[in-house]
């Protein structure tokens, strides 16, 4: 019994010593961190930055975050906009959507439209960017030409494309007639209308992806490519083993933003279904259009909110999958 009694003060002293040591180390680390990252001057800069951002953050929260939260809440109510009574209906709106043939058709069309636009606009813009990254005399001119559709407002562009697609007077059919091909009912043929929208949307977004890729390609240090050339790598090998891996963050960004844009497509679909010489509504019904009709035409705000929540979840899921795939590929390369 005596030995432990004698050991106790030693143990306590050791423990106290360790604690002091830990405190001292933490203090040193904290001071080092303060010295390194948050010197007094930097505190001022950080405070200024956050204060400067505050109005924008508040505005963003008010016009973006709050309505999104509200949409989640509304989705469990039956609200008919004008009607002041909003009964709680739980998940009824969601169950209703699963049986709604318009929603299912919109889902199907969106799942055809979105990957088609994302894949086509990415695959077309990447080689174009590689070509335009070379410093040629006309490179800037071509970049401007490809970027023009991006900065042109979507409504006039859609109206212009409606004319381009016109069966009788359209530019596209005129072009086909010059090479002896028959006219195509781009908009009025239900089997073709969705693909006509895909073509127009790829044209619209190509320039944006192109610019992102150009920025990425031009930021790749030339020493890598020079080293590869010295090692005897041909153009394809340089692209495959140097350019493409280093472009991966840009590629991910392009794919994610294109996916979000494609899933929420609305304006061109809305414009191209207006009037008697337009695409049949069902042939090009996409989720955003269906949400619009449910919310603002039929005033079923709760139901449309549930549809919006599902679209939100879908886009989020696709984005997460894309991030995961990109990360696993990176880990594969790193490993």
């Amino acid at each position: 019994m005596s030995a432990p009694m004698q050991d106790a003060p030693n143990s306590i002293a050791i423990a106290e010593g360790r604690q002091r040591d830990l405190h001292a180390r933490l203090r040193r680390a904290y001071l080092a961190w303060v010295d390194m990252y948050v010197s007094r001057g930097q505190w001022r800069v950080m405070t200024f930055c956050y204060l400067a951002l505050l109005p924008v953050l508040v505005l963003f929260g008010y016009v973006r975050v709050l309505p999104t939260i509200n949409a989640f809440i509304l989705s469990v109510y039956k609200w008919e906009l004008i009607d002041p009574i909003r009964p709680f209906v739980g998940l009824d709106n969601y169950w209703g959507l699963l049986e709604d043939e318009n929603f299912l058709l919109a889902l199907k069309n969106t799942l055809i439209f979105s990957p088609s636009v994302v894949v086509a606009s990415t695959l077309l813009s990447l080689p174009l960017a590689l070509f335009l990254a070379r410093k040629g005399k006309l490179s800037v001119v071509y970049q401007t030409i490809y970027f023009l559709p991006v900065i042109t407002p979507l409504v006039p562009v859609s109206i212009a494309w409606k004319w381009i697609y016109d069966y009788n007077y359209g530019l596209l059919n005129y072009g086909l007639s010059l090479v002896g091909l028959p006219a195509v009912a781009w908009l009025t043929d239900a089997d073709i209308a969705l693909w006509a929208l895909v073509i127009m949307s790829v044209w619209k977004h190509l320039g944006q992806n192109l610019v992102f890729f150009l920025v990425g390609i031009r930021n790749i240090p030339s020493v890598y490519l020079e080293a590869a050339m010295i090692d005897g790598a041909d153009a394809w090998q340089q692209f495959r083993y140097i350019t493409l891996p280093l472009l991966r963050p840009i590629l991910l960004f392009v794919v994610v933003t294109s996916t979000i844009n494609a899933f929420t497509v609305f304006t061109q679909v809305y414009v191209m279904t207006l009037g008697s010489q337009a695409a049949p509504g069902q042939a090009v019904r996409v989720i955003a259009l269906d949400i619009y009709y449910n919310a603002f035409q039929y005033l079923h705000m709760g139901y449309a909110s549930a549809e919006s929540v599902l679209l939100f979840i879908m886009v989020l899921a696709f984005t997460i999958i894309q991030f995961r795939l990109a990360r696993s590929q990176k880990e594969g390369l790193d490993g």
């Binding site: 906009l81 004008i82 009607d83 002041p84 318009n102 069966y167 009788n168 028959p182 006219a183 009912a185 908009l187 009025t188 043929d189 239900a190 279904t273 207006l274 009037g275 008697s276 010489q277 337009a278 695409a279 049949p280 509504g281 069902q282 042939a283 019904r285 009709y293 603002f296 035409q297 039929y298 005033l299």
Partner: protein, 447 residues
Amino acid sequence: MTSKPRSGKGVDRRTALKLAAGAGLASAGGFGFARPAKAADVTLNVWTGYPELVPYYKAVADEYAKTHAGFKINLLSTSLREHEQKLSAAMPTGTGPDIFDVGANISIKFAGANLLKPNSAEIDQYMKANWSKYTIDFLSFKGKTYGIPLLEGRAAMYWNKAMFKEAGVNGPPTTFGELIEAAQKIVKIDSTGKMTRSGISMRLSGQGSGITEKFRFVLEPAGGKFIEETKSGKWHNGYDNEAGRNALQLYVDIVQKLKVDDPKVPHDADAFANGTTAMLFREAWVIGEIQKKSPTLDFGVAPIPRWDAKSPYKMLVQPWAVYVSGKSKNEAASWDFLKFLSQPNNARLITEMTGWGCNRQGVDWTPLLKKTPQFEVFVQPPKDVQTFSDPVIAVFDELESRAADKLPGLYVDSSLNGNPAKVAEAIKALAAQTDSILKTAGIYGTS
């Protein structure tokens, strides 16, 4: 450069401020009370879903302002659907206009949510003295009238006289059989098989309730109704029957079997004005379009044909009213302006300026008909023409729009060509959808 010293005779700053303050008080306390604002010193916000009505509203407001000094209107016009959406969002929040025009299927929702007040006894009396019982009933909700009738959409058949003459067809068709016969003689197809002129322009593509509305132009003469009211005030589809099947079959035949119209060729008022179709079912505003775009076009307007020689003529009539918001701060001035707007002269003006019909009684149409005889069918329809209208229920637009989602696909569905069983199946499915929407709205019933 130096400034000159001020002369001693000028007023100093303090004196100037005192004078200014005194003048302000004098104008506020003295002149202000001496000249109180007139009741007419008012600006009304007016929203319309028909941009072509803007010059009309302005002309009437200018006329009204001659006797009501200081009266002004702020006009906001958008497309009809956007107008309905803006109103639906603005009215519950009290940010809507003082005056707006809208269809009864929307106004009934506002009335149900107490966003519109029933007409006062005076306005109610004014309406009953100057409009038909048909119009009064159309604008009544739970036994009370709302708004003042403004215009009326009436559908009839436009026919190109020159094309009929060229094809050796006399006069406008009076039955759908004659119509098909005429269309077959008039339609033009080039050597490549491409239609260059349609015999008749039906509504075959796009989306929205208008597609179903045009389907009803055939359905009603065939003896059907889009929806039917029961004795207990419930509703159910009225076209899962022979009339519905005949109407759809006619559309399918026109496109696929008889090939007198094609979704690919130009359609609607533009096509008629440009001479790329021989016949069109539309409202009176097309006359104004033709006068603008093709003033030399030789055309006539007749009732939409009967189904056969024994059936009645049917005409879709859609009264359209103008309302004062229940939350307007200028209620009295708004009603006074609306009464002026609906005086006989102004009622005729709406037809003259926009082509839209008006349904006020006691209007002398002689000057207009002398100038443009094509208006006759719209303003003084033949007595043997029976009218039908849109049921005044809140979900009617949804019913039509949902059916319109499917109809264009059915018109070009090759499996329906010459296949009555498939046509019956398609009509049954469409009717089931109509009934389903009525059930969700809680107004479905068969007895």
